[in-house]
Symmetry: C2
Subunit: 179 residues, 2 copies
């Protein structure tokens, strides 16, 4: 069981059993990571699905529906349900693209931005505190680990999403066309 026999430059080695506990740590960490936002969302009558939509629209103003589907990896119908609620209740707005009128570019309203920030603040606080408690120098490595946990054919998408942060989505195939 303790399959420790590896090449010289392998990871200093977690035994097979330790790696299973990694899976458990991920489970518990994620479970608690979403629990705080969940409580707030409940007071709005929203769920996790709303949070994800609100987050990515907030993060990437002008996001198109198709892009959002790609990010969330859910179906159009699943998205439509929560997106409609967010729009009806004034957290998100749509505007037709100027170049391509079929596109519905998504933006948060001020009200939506406020909620998005409130939720993000909770999670950022937890992450910040976890990084501090994990000790200096943990940041970069953990980031590399999390990124490497993403399926290979998705890593590129995620990388460009992360880079384009706080820039508007290149939604209209025209850099000048925002807002």
């Amino acid at each position: 069981m303790g399959g420790e026999a590896k090449g010289p430059d392998a990871v200093p080695s977690s035994s097979e059993n330790d790696l299973i506990s990694y899976a458990e740590l991920l489970f518990f960490a994620y479970r608690d990571f979403i629990s705080e936002p969940d409580e707030i969302l409940e007071t709005y009558g929203f769920g996790r699905a709303h949070h994800r939509v609100l987050h990515f629209v907030h993060r990437t103003p002008g996001l198109r529906v198709a892009q959002l589907l790609n990010i969330l990896k859910i179906t159009k119908q699943s998205l439509a349900r929560v997106l409609k609620q967010l729009i009806d209740e004034g957290f998100v707005t749509q505007r037709a693209g100027k170049m391509d009128g079929r596109e519905r570019l998504l933006y948060v309203t001020p009200k939506g931005a406020k909620l998005a920030k409130e939720l993000a603040a909770l999670q950022v606080a937890r992450i910040k505190s976890a990084l501090e408690s994990a000790g200096p120098g943990t940041d970069a490595g953990t980031r590399r680990f999390l990124f490497a946990m993403i399926s290979e054919d998705e890593q590129q998408h995620v990388a460009s999403l992360l880079e384009s942060s706080s820039e508007p989505a290149s939604s209209d195939h025209d850099p000048t066309d925002q807002q």
Copy 2:
């Protein structure tokens, strides 16, 4: 905003915005982390809930129902549904406790063990590969980070769960059994 002013031994500092991308990395990592097992589970007519139950029973033979509820943080009724299926289809068995006959101690059957191992192998492979790709020395730090992401009042429970790995659960009111 760019709250970089910290004590001298603070984490080398991710900006507020970088910390948000941490949340996204967690989302994507977790999304893909469960996607592979999900596919296999589907062929058995099972879902994630079954996976979690099977995993923790496999990992902690003799687990009691109440302990499982504590780990999963779901209600008895939610658990009952999936547990019943796992029992009915011969993946998990129950035995009454010897000291306390009210307890139903949970064990995986050989069939259950096989499935549990198959699913764990997928996740272990992903973790192993991610650790390698993140570079040597990432392991310990990431582990500390994930642990620190768990809510404080839960960390103790998780810690003792991880330690007791591959030992039978102290199900018969062993003095070391902290609810």
